[in-house]
Amino acid sequence: NAGVIQTPRHKVTGKGQEATLWCEPISGHSAVFWYRQTIVQGLEFLTYFRNQAPIDDSGMPKERFSAQMPNQSHSTLKIQSTQPQDSAVYLCASSLDGGALDTQYFGPGTRLLVL
């Protein structure tokens, strides 16, 4: 049981460049969640999918951020024209079916630094 896999673990980009973050959920889990963690804001919800369908993207910044789940085995979070304020640890979690009673299991995170 490999747990939730996130790649890359660290990413450094220049201001204005694009960043794509990858998440592989636990096998058999149908829900994938994305969160962002900063020292100032703490852990914030971004978006989540259930059975590959987007369910709630209420935490996603309206511009430059997008997420997809093209198949059961991976999800991507893309940030276009990255800005220094996008620097954060981006965490992916998966759960069995995305219900409120489910336990969410987190990956190690991708630490994004925008210079």
């Binding site: 829900a31 969640f33 969160y35 703490g42 852990l43 914030e44 919800f45 989540y48 259930r50 369910i55 709630d56 209420s58 935490g59 965490l91 979690a93 759960s95 995305g98 219900g99 409120a100 009673l101 489910d102 336990t103 969410q104 299991y105 987190f106 990956g107 190690p108 995170g109």
Partner: protein, 109 residues
């Protein structure tokens, strides 16, 4: 929106002492999870406890749903317990978790 408040913000104890962490939330919660995060490390789920009392190892969580509060008790603390403890809730209609700011626990030898 929902809010989660944790206290204390930080706690320093001697090894062997017990730790008591508090979590208060602003509206009903169908799910409540306690997580542990080591410095620079991943989030590890410790307990899911939406109501009542649950034990695992040296951890005991008590959640009183009507009073919108939960506690995490760590008995006989060890230096390896040092890190940040986060409380998170989800309500019935939403799978997403809302997190508190965490309690930073330091256990001195």
């Amino acid at each position: 929106g929902q809010q989660v408040q944790q206290s204390p913000a930080s706690l320093v104890l001697q090894e062997g002492e017990n730790a008591e962490l508090q979590c208060n939330f602003s509206s009903t919660a169908t799910q409540l999870q306690w997580f542990y995060q080591s410095p620079g490390g991943s989030l590890v789920s410790l307990l899911s406890n939406p109501s009542g009392t649950k034990h695992t190892g040296r951890l005991t969580s008590t959640t009183v749903t009507k009073e919108r509060r939960s506690s995490l008790h760590i008995s006989s603390s060890q230096t390896t317990d040092s890190g940040t403890y986060l409380c998170a809730i989800a309500d019935y209609n939403q799978g997403k978790l809302i997190f508190g700011q965490g309690t930073k626990l330091s256990i001195k030898p």
